[in-house]
């Protein structure tokens, strides 16, 4: 490196000059605020740990045991899976009100295809997954191509899908015992493995395949959002679709892919729903849309799009789970759970606004 080719050295020399810069007071609070801004999942993580410690102190070993803590994971698995789908959509500054309806309809399709028409179970499950993807794609097409607002689109498809669910199923339940005997694959996500259980298989940490699936899903999506071009495009589209378009991002394609993937994840949630409740029931899971939005908001994901992380949504779901079970163990009226979840939502949004005041 010598002679006329010494470009690098020139550049380095130039950089030594002092340039104009902002001199902000780096107080502790400012640093904290900045840390929160760069790592949006930090707030829900702190709240989650604090609430586990709080209930652990108040209740003691009955709460702070491997059995109880893994029970919370089991109780939030459906909300956690659906919240992952919801996060993707909200990341694009959209919202998906139809997630719960897609989940239920897909579980009904898987069950009824296997039992009503005698289709082999793996194919019935594939039909359910395909339907979920198709319904998600429909949402995405209406949003991206027809340029309809996501809230309105999914408000419509939510009702359409839920009504189809009741019309198709005639509100008939397929019982757990029949599924176990004839189509155990439908209950795949109910399989468990235990760590530290006693000789009767009681106590200890219990993980269902549904819980494992939820965690794997979050890990894979977190990787995809951070490390792949597609993931960066999702953030870009959510932050500013016009700028994204001008930078060469296929906005339409990205939006449709997000809604389609959301539908597919909901279909998996439908499969997990069968594992969770044992039976195929058209009346279950209808509230998943509100529950998933709650988890996403408490998880610190901005409803204005472009900011937040999928891990935050999982923490959000877990916080709700910890409060629900913790308050029950304290013997509080079930009404208090809803009360505190409401408080958490407001606090989460207030914190989000405060963090936004930091320059990026």
């Amino acid at each position: 490196m010598s002679g006329t080719d010494n470009f690098e050295a020139v550049v380095q020399e130039r950089r030594t000059e002092a340039v104009a810069e902002f001199h902000e007071d780096k107080t502790l609070i400012k640093r904290f605020q900045h840390a929160l801004h760069t790592t949006p999942a930090l707030v829900p993580m702190i709240v989650l740990i604090a609430s586990i410690v709080l209930f652990g102190l108040l209740i003691g070993n009955r709460f702070f045991s491997a059995g109880t803590l893994t029970l919370i994971l089991q109780q939030v698995q459906l909300v956690g899976i659906v919240a992952a789908a919801q996060t993707l959509v909200i990341m694009t500054a959209g919202i998906d009100l139809s997630v719960g309806a897609i989940t239920v309809l897909c579980s009904v399709i898987m069950g009824q295809f296997a039992f009503r028409y005698g289709i082999p179970v793996p194919i019935a499950i594939l039909c359910g997954l395909a339907l979920g993807t198709a319904l998600g794609t429909l949402n995405g097409w209406l949003v991206a191509v027809m340029k309809l607002p996501p809230f309105i689109v999914t408000l419509g498809t939510w009702q359409i899908i839920l009504a189809s669910n009741f019309l198709y199923s005639a509100n008939e339940t397929i019982r757990s015992q029949e599924i176990e005997a004839q189509a155990p694959l439908l209950q795949f996500f109910a399989n468990t493995f235990k760590i530290g259980a006693d000789e009767n298989g009681r106590g200890g940490a219990t993980f269902t395949y549904g819980v494992i699936f939820m965690i794997l899903l979050v890990v894979v999506l977190a990787y995809a959002l951070r490390q792949t071009a597609w993931g960066r495009h999702v953030y870009a589209v959510g932050d500013d679709p016009d700028a994204a378009q001008l930078s060469g991002v296929n906005v339409r394609g990205t939006l449709i892919s997000v809604y389609a993937l959301s539908g597919l994840i909901c279909a998996f949630a439908g499969w997990a729903l069968i594992g969770r409740i044992g039976s195929v029931s058209p009346t279950s899971g209808a509230e998943l849309n509100i529950q998933s939005i709650t988890a996403v908001v408490i998880g610190g994901i901005s409803l204005f799009g472009g900011r937040g992380s999928i891990v935050g949504a999982l923490f959000g779901a877990l916080i709700v789970g910890v409060f629900s079970l913790g308050l029950r163990l304290l013997g509080a009226d079930a009404q208090w759970t809803f009360f505190f979840i409401g408080v958490l939502i407001i606090v989460a949004v207030a914190v989000d606004q405060w963090i936004r005041k930091v320059a990026a």
């Binding site: 009741f166 005639a170 029931s281």
Partner: protein, 338 residues
Amino acid sequence: MKTLLAGSALALITMSGAAVAQEGTAACLITKTDTNPFFVKMKEGAEAKAAELGITLSSYAGKVDGDHESQVQAIETCIASGASGILIAASDTAAIVDSVQAARDAGLLVIALDTPLDPIDAADATFATDNFQAGLLIGQWAAATLGDAAADARIAMLDLSVAQPSVDVLRDQGFLTGFGIDTGDVNVIGDEEDPRIVGNDITSGNEEGGRRAMENLLAVNPDINVVYTINEPAAAGAYEALKAVGREADVLIVSVDGGCPGVQNVADGVIGATSQQYPLQMAALGIEAIAQYAADGTLPQPTEGKDFFDTGVTLITDAPVEGVESITSEEGKALCWG
């Protein structure tokens, strides 16, 4: 084939004969939803009876449970259509009262099905299940099945919702009364002080809620051995939670409803006993009452000692106990709905 045709023709003639007697009589059936098997069965019962008596029946339903607006519209349509009577399973029992009064003022007979109005005398009559009795039966059965062990039972109460609608309260308090537990205020769930009650939780009346509520209460006390459930889907969910911890064999689950999947669960030993109600009967009796009213203005009378007409409730179990009348799951299947 010919005899069959002749037979049908004969049946048609007799039917049209009945129709002449009731010429022009029309009735309306308004249910909560068209999706719940309970109301589907109710509609079937009304349609069959109306066809038999030659009454023109129009059916209406809310879009979802709790859809009050659609029911008000349905009542207005019925009044305008000149029907003789309305059978209604109200979604909002207090708010519907004004519309019901308007129908009665217009000379229609209004009968509340399944759900009493608030106040109950806002309707001309109420044909319903005695939900307190339904709870009482399963409470008595559970206590008798446990025998001496009932004195130190550990009971989980899986209720419907935080709003404590009347059906929720009646079944819950009926069960406790039947089991021999002091209910405190019989109009309120959860004010009992008996240490045998581990806790109350809500299920929304479905499998998912049933499972979650059972898990929550098992976390409070893992030794629960009696589970009361508001209905059979909640019971099925509770069973899944018990199965997950390997306790399904040593817990008694009792429930209310009598839907076909629930009765099958009694046969399979998932549910120990359930109280069966009869939506088809409610609707059929309702149509008969309207026919009677249209013919000579007779108003239906409530069951003696009650402020409504009791359409009956039967305990279904395959492990009958002395002192509590019951039928087997096999007999129950012939009567089930959904």
